[in-house]
């Protein structure tokens, strides 16, 4: 846990970095949902080009994109390995009992294209906006105060609690826990109980710490004033390029949805 970071923000001076976080959040989420509506392979090059163009415009490093791909790629990899060989009647290549099918390949390309394009947009949003600005934008767009407060407090204590767990696990190992060949593969009541006690102790420590945190917050006036005050997003910046970019992306989202509807009604192409 210690090598990970909640804040994926990469400092920069691009237009996407300077874009008002509220407009950025609305525009990129609208575009992500528009990408999710794509069911026709014909539109995949367009969404891939759009997300690639925005990534280049944000001047983000390629390594960040590769790093983000590692875990969610597993489910996608599973689909890529299964769908081309199991979906559809049109066999385009056969070797023994293994047949590569055209419909399966098309479905795989559609899912992979959609996945990579949406992932890229999500990464642009997170990497060009500091976490706290993103949270403030969500709050000013109507996220309930309880959710904002909980998110901030969770963010504040996440790494401290991760360090506590790491210390507890190290102490257990020093006392012989998990030693021996293939110990991590042996499941018995004792092994499960030890892990349950470890998690239970972590919960108790966190609970006791939360009581101290709450008392400190009360001493600083928490819950006695106006909880809504100070959590808003401030005055909206009216710099013209912000609105121009917002209009362009919302227009692209609308255009994609209309193209998808038109293809659905007028073209009997390859779709899922």
């Amino acid at each position: 846990m210690t090598t990970l970071s909640v804040d994926s923000y990469v400092p920069g001076r691009s237009l996407l970095h300077r874009w008002d976080p509220r407009l950025k959040l609305i525009s990129l989420l609208a575009l992500m949902f528009a990408f999710a509506t794509v069911q026709h392979l014909t539109l995949v090059p367009a969404i891939a080009a759009l997300s690639l163009g925005l990534y280049v415009a944000a001047r983000l490093p390629l390594g960040l994109w590769r790093q983000r791909l590692s875990y969610p790629g597993l489910l996608i990899l599973g689909l890529v390995l299964v769908l081309p060989f199991s979906l559809g009647p049109t066999v385009i290549w056969q070797w023994g009992g293994v047949a590569l099918r055209q419909e399966g390949l098309a479905a795989t390309a559609l899912i992979a294209g959609r996945f990579l394009s949406i992932l890229t947009l999500g990464l642009i949003l997170l990497a060009t906006t500091p976490f706290l600005s993103l949270l403030q934008a969500m709050r000013s767009l109507g996220l309930p105060a309880i959710l904002t407060d909980m998110t901030l407090l969770t963010y504040r204590y996440l790494y401290e609690i991760a360090d506590t767990l790491a210390t507890m696990q190290r102490a257990m190992q020093l006392r012989g826990f998990g030693q021996g060949p293939h110990a991590w593969l042996r499941l018995n009541r004792q092994a499960l109980e030890q892990r349950a006690l470890l998690a239970g102790n972590l919960l108790i420590r966190s609970y006791e710490q939360s009581e101290r945190v709450y008392r400190a917050m009360r001493l600083r006036g928490h819950g006695q004033g106006h909880p809504e005050r100070g959590t808003g997003g401030g005055k909206m910046q009216t710099w013209a390029p912000h609105w121009g970019l917002t209009a362009a992306l919302l227009g692209a989202a609308l255009g994609l949805i209309m193209a998808e509807v038109a293809l659905h009604h007028g073209y009997n192409g390859i779709g899922l």
Binding site: L4, F33, L75, I76, S86, L119, L147, T154, L187, S210
Partner: protein, 214 residues
Amino acid sequence: MHIPDGILPAQVCVAGYAVTGLATWYSLGRINRRPDPSADIPKASLLTAAFFVASSIYIPLPPASVHLTLNGLLGVVLGYFAFPAIVIGLFFQALVLGHGGLTSLGVNAAMMGLPALLAYHLFQARNSLGRPLGEPARTGLFAFLGGALGVGLAVLIFLSLIVFNIPAEVEAKAERAALLALSLSHLPLIGVEGLFTALLVLFLRRVKPELLEG
């Protein structure tokens, strides 16, 4: 067990956000009925962080090892705070680890959070339904059921969403067979999660019973 972006159609993602919005609104409404809702926020927040961290503990399940979802346990311990806690936890997982995604956040939150709320109600029913049993068997049994129900329902929703939304050209019979086979393969995980929840809740009952007040 997270559905990434781009797998589900937009309609399902929007429906997921609608369900999550409703469930969050309902949970926050119940929280606001408490005498001092702000008093519980630090407790719920730090426990959310602790659950997030604790879900990284490996559990051996030969021939591999697994992470537990802990959504049933979250329901048992946090009560109505469990749903917002899951939304926040999944948001952090999307940010930190790239698990799940922003368009699928609503679906993932509903998939994990609704079973957590059910697990909470099931655990609360231990004093009425479980009256014939003595303590600590009653607490242990209902914690087991809560933990198993939490992950069991989440697995069922996850597999249904995947099986019914991806290969549209696969026959309905084959889809049902795949769903059944995949669900059965998760039974050991459901058992382990239930047992883990029961052991942990019995420990909390002995050491810090106020944590189980919901």
